[in-house]
């Protein structure tokens, strides 16, 4: 039988996922000799034996890798055989090659079974994990990924754990965060009745929740605030104490079965709920599910997720009912990460604290994905997804740091053929978020051993991210906001363009300082041309109008149906300073023109009486979206395209007039919402068709925060595909500002390579 020696290099997500033990098991079973080790971001296998066995090994790696591995490439090369026997796992070798930080993974079914098994060593142990699940990113201090460089360094393994750790056939072989009740982290409960530890801490925590009180929970990437989700009073109390008027609370259901009772699930939703990333999934609420309206006022959807650590599982199972599991913060600043921070900021909100002694080294929010109609779209990319890189086709070789936008910030480091996008960092205006932004950038550059050659940022001169970019002392590439959105969408699909980029959001700066937000850009990664856009509308009071849709309504009605303005004000806007707004418009004081699709949503929501003030970003638009009923009758509103000059302008005046007319006649809000969505989708399609006729490309990319709206997205996709377009929509990266850093990086790559 011929023998050979192969050197195999496997790349992808192959570290922290039990890859080397799997290789050991396969090689040993196939009677092969050699070794396997980690090197940089890859796994290197040096293996020798009968040629068919070698081929079998390669096939097993490709087709049966460990459940959490994602193989990007397998490269084999022959080498001169040298004999020897036995197969060994060698320790990690430091390398200068690119490194990887694996994302955290939700508890695997095996570990879950163990913690529920009364006879298992780890029965009821909240810090159970293995090579296929558990904390990674949030506990890693430095690379290579080894226990000594994680926050588990302080916990010395007991004998039993050490034995499992060193046994290649064990699921916990080289599981860096390995722990058990004897040697690992422990729970601590602090509340009215005093302190408690271990199992009693959990029991007291459950008691707190069942008594309708509020519990702060130290989780994986930060703190949560929890209470019983079906307890109307507890939910109301949590709203009051958090100062959170209407923004929805995420709900954690104990298991999939209970989730089925709470929301409408389809296969895509089930896969998202049970996968290793375990995001919060936005789903249509089931009628009569017993959840109070107050959880998500004015919305049909709820954010649902399943427990993602054994601690959460034990808590939920102990309570035996769904729990509100919302971010441990005050008003959208970054969630608390340390005990001191939690005590300071959450002390006035929580009645009790459930904590533990495994430090959270990296703050990481829960991810949020919207699911519906067989599709899904990333809304907030964080725990479980970030910072896993995506492979991209490069034009140049520079290492580029793209700093993203100021709201829903993420940054992106483009190093070699990979783009590493940070988890969601939030609003940089929050001091804690900005400091984390700076720290995380420095950290990632260190972890990946990548120093940027250039920085990319938005055009907006007031963005804090842009100020940081200029302070780096590196060449800066400034990228237009909506161009970055479209580029991110193209990148997700591995494309370069050109495509007709439909970029709809609240606001982003145009190249001449104007404010854009309803754009049709014929774009590629190399550049863009503004082919059409929504005609501008005025925001009386500038930024203030972003939270007060009634202002936009007045401005739009004043332009589209001035004779109806006073009637609308009287009917809908009582108790507000409408006269003052009219004066601002008449005198043109701080009435900012913006071509904004996002604000158009706000105007419609306000005119229709659905929402006149947004207590959180996007509230008016979300409420409007949730009202849409597919079967509502038309006719839909029209947005005529004015082609008299370039770029073409999409006029909204007839639409606004139509909305008011319907409202005045008592047409139900569900119908108005449907006519608006359908009308807008039809307009999008018509504009794209016109642009294609005008020698435009046959592909359309949909991006910008407005496309978080799944209803609008689905309508646009359907109509465009029916018209023969190839449609690119976001799935893995947010259409909102969380995605622009990726777009900025790729655009900068092109620019610098020229």
């Amino acid at each position: 039988m011929p023998r050979a020696r192969w050197r195999i290099r496997v790349e992808g997500i192959v570290q922290g996922v039990g890859f080397r033990p799997a290789v050991w098991r396969y090689a040993t079973a196939l009677d092969l000799a050699g070794s396997v080790r980690n090197e940089g971001a890859a796994v290197l296998i040096d293996v020798e034996g009968e040629t068919p066995a070698l081929a079998r090994l390669r096939a097993l790696l490709e087709h049966s890798p460990p459940p959490r591995a994602r193989i990007a490439s397998i490269a084999c090369e022959e080498a001169p055989p040298r004999g020897g026997d036995g197969f060994a796992i060698e320790p990690s070798a430091d390398a200068l090659v690119q490194r990887r930080v694996p994302p955290d993974m939700a508890t695997c079914p095996d570990c879950l079974a163990e913690i529920r098994d009364p006879s298992a060593r780890r029965s009821g142990y909240p810090f159970t994990n293995c090579t296929n699940c558990g904390p990674r990113y949030t506990i890693i201090a430095d690379l290579p990924y080894d226990r000594v460089r994680t926050s588990m360094a302080a916990f010395a393994m007991c004998e039993d754990c050490r034995r499992e750790y060193e046994d290649p056939s064990d699921r916990r072989f080289h599981a860096q965060p390995i722990a058990c009740p004897r040697c690992g982290p422990a729970l601590r409960f602090t509340g009215a009745g005093g302190e408690a530890r271990g199992g009693e801490a959990l029991a007291r925590a459950v008691e707190t929740l069942l008594a309708g009180r509020i519990l702060a929970v130290k989780g994986l990437g930060g703190y949560h605030l929890a209470c019983a989700a079906e307890d109307r009073e507890a939910v109301a109390r949590l709203r009051r104490r958090k100062g959170r008027e209407a923004k929805p609370f995420a709900v954690m259901a104990p298991d999939l079965e209970s989730a089925e009772r709470l929301a409408e699930l389809d296969p895509v939703a089930r896969a998202l709920l049970t996968g290793p990333e375990r995001p919060i999934v936005l789903l249509p609420r089931k009628d009569g599910c017993g959840l109070p309206e107050d959880l998500a006022p004015g919305l049909r959807r709820i954010g649902l997720f399943l427990p993602y650590t054994p601690l959460h599982d034990l808590l939920c199972a102990g309570a035996g009912r769904p729990l509100v599991m919302t971010s441990g913060n005050l008003t959208d600043d970054p969630i608390a990460r340390t005990e001191e921070d939690a005590a300071r900021r959450l002390g006035g909100i929580a009645d009790a604290f459930l904590e533990h002694d495994r430090p959270i080294l990296r703050r990481c929010e829960d991810s949020v994905v919207a699911a519906g109609g067989g599709r899904s779209v990333m809304v907030r990319r964080a725990r479980g997804y970030a910072p896993a890189p995506i492979a991209v086709r490069r034009a140049g070789r520079a290492t580029i740091l793209a700093v993203g936008g100021d709201l829903k910030n993420t940054f992106c480091l483009l190093a070699g053929p990979h783009a590493f996008v940070s988890p969601h960092l939030g609003e940089l205006r929050h001091l804690a978020a900005f400091e984390q932004f700076r720290r995380d950038i420095a950290d990632v550059e260190h972890l990946l051993g990548a120093r940027p050659d250039a920085v990319a940022c938005d055009l907006h001169p007031d963005y804090l991210a842009a100020a940081y970019a200029h302070e780096r002392g590196l060449p800066v590439v400034r990228v237009q906001h909506h161009h970055a959105h479209i580029a991110a969408c193209l990148a997700e699909h591995g494309e370069e363009g050109p495509a007709i980029g439909v970029a709809f959001d609240g606001l982003g700066m145009g190249p001449g300082g104007e404010l854009w937000g309803g754009e049709f850009l014929v774009a590629s990664l190399d550049g863009f041309r503004r082919a059409a856009h929504l005609a501008p509308l005025l925001l009386p009071g500038g930024e203030k109008a972003e939270r007060e849709p009634w202002r936009v309504a007045i401005a739009c009605l004043a332009a589209a149906a001035p004779e109806a303005l006073d009637a609308w004000i009287e009917a809908e806007a009582g108790g507000r300073d409408a006269a003052g707004i009219k004066e601002l418009l008449a005198r043109d004081v701080n009435c900012v023109p913006v071509s904004s699709a996002g604000r158009l949503f706000d105007a419609v929501a306000a005119i229709a009486g659905v929402c006149l003030e947004s207590s959180y970003e996007g509230e008016a638009a979300m409420r409007l979206e949730d009202l849409v009923r597919d079967d509502a009758p038309g006719p839909d509103y029209e947005l005529p395209l004015d082609c008299a000059s370039r770029p073409f302008r999409l006029r909204w005046e007839p639409l606004v007039a139509g909305v008011w007319e319907d409202r005045r006649r008592g047409v139900p809000a569900e119908c108005i919402a449907a006519r608006f969505h359908r009308g807008l989708a039809a307009a999008v399609c018509a504009v794209c068709a016109r642009l294609r006729d005008d020698a435009g490309p046959p592909a359309v990319a949909l991006s910008g925060g407005v496309f978080h709206n799944s209803v609008l997205t689905a309508m646009c996709v359907r109509l465009l595909e029916a018209r023969g377009f190839r449609v690119l929509a976001h799935r893995d990266f947010p259409p909102g500002d969380g995605g622009i850093s990726l777009g900025q990086a790729l655009i900068a790559d092109r620019k610098l390579a020229q």
């Binding site: 001169p461 007031d462 804090l464 005198r587 004081v589």
Partner: protein, 335 residues
């Protein structure tokens, strides 16, 4: 003077009409023994302390607004700049650029204001100049003012003196001047009209001078408001400033107007307020001294803290946010 009289080009020619203007409009309203010599320049007596000089151009529109006009603004602004340097203000120069057709009645009113402001601040206008530009080239009146003061002995002021732990004091409510000017410019009928706070800060400044080294630095938050002023201190001093937004004195009428306008009073101009950085042990006493000097709402609004240079503002409801400098001006031609 005939109410229809207007400025003619020859008023700026340096001849008969110029002399008549000086005699009939300027001297009666703010003349003094030095100015009356009408030399090409003013010979001034020696100063006991270090001379301090400042200059400002004034282009405010509209020129008359509730609480003041371009004349009083020019005097107060120049005097305040000198006070912020730790100097007792002494002498001012005023150069007018007038547009052909500018009403003499308005000029007289403005000069009245100048006279009153100068007398109130204890300073003399010692020299000046008048030029006239053709109709359409000048928007009425621009004033360039320069001032000379005398540094108070033992006072060493500047942002570099700020240290971690120092207190940040503010002499009164924010945003009055900016909102008043905007209201007047756009003829906005606010439900309750706002008056500019334009005034000379002589009493307040002198109250703080008495604290010597415990006074680290003083600034007046004019263009760009309190937020911009604090950022200047932070940048120049290389320090981080943390303020409590709920501790900043506010004027309810200003807040109401800003609410409607969609502006932030922290960024609206002030022309009669000062910001002082003080040694922590003297902060309370300095606040009391300010109040005794007439700044009834003076308060400690924050401190110099550890960290990279920036300004952070905390509020009960909003957490801690960064108060950055804006690139543009929310409101041009405010002073």
């Amino acid at each position: 003077m005939n109410p229809d009289d207007v400025i003619l080009l020859s008023h700026g020619a340096g001849g008969k009409l110029t002399a008549r203007l000086i005699d009939s409009v300027f001297l009666p309203r703010y003349g003094n023994e030095i100015l009356r010599r009408l030399g090409d320049g003013a010979v001034l007596p020696p100063l006991a302390g270090d001379p301090v000089m400042t200059t400002d151009a004034h282009v405010v529109s509209p020129r008359f607004f509730p609480g003041g006009d371009i004349g009083s603004l020019a005097v107060h602004g120049t005097v305040n700049d000198l006070l912020m340097c730790g100097a007792e203000p002494r002498w001012l120069s005023l150069a007018f650029v007038l547009e052909e057709g500018f009403p003499l009645g308005d000029l007289a009113r403005i000069c009245d204001s100048i006279g009153q402001a100068a007398a109130g601040a204890g300073v003399m206008v010692v020299t000046g100049d008048t030029k006239v530009v053709e109709r359409g080239r000048g928007d009425g009146i621009y004033i360039a003012a320069a001032g000379i003061g005398e540094r108070v002995r033992g006072l060493e002021l500047g942002p570099r003196r700020a240290r971690t732990g120092d207190a940040v004091l503010l002499s009164g409510p924010v945003g009055q001047h900016g909102v008043a000017v905007l209201g007047a410019r756009r003829e906005l009928a606010f439900t309750t009209p706002v008056t500019s706070d334009s005034r000379a800060l002589v009493h307040e400044a002198r109250a703080l001078f008495a604290f010597g080294g415990a006074l680290r630095t003083m600034h007046d938050p004019t263009r760009g408001g309190l937020a911009t002023c604090l950022n200047e201190i932070a940048r120049a001093g290389g320090v981080r400033i943390a303020i409590d937004e709920d501790a900043v004195p506010r004027d309810a009428r200003v807040e109401q107007a800003c609410e409607l306008l969609g502006m932030d009073s922290l960024y609206m101009a002030n022309e009669g307020k000062l910001v002082a950085v003080a040694a922590p042990e003297s902060a309370a006493a300095m606040c009391a001294a300010l109040r005794a000097a007439g700044a009834a709402e003076a308060a400690c609004i924050g401190a110099v803290v550890e960290g990279s240079p920036l300004v952070a503002a905390a509020s009960r409801t909003g957490g801690e946010r960064i108060l950055d400098v804006l690139t543009g001006d929310p409101l041009p031609r405010i002073c």
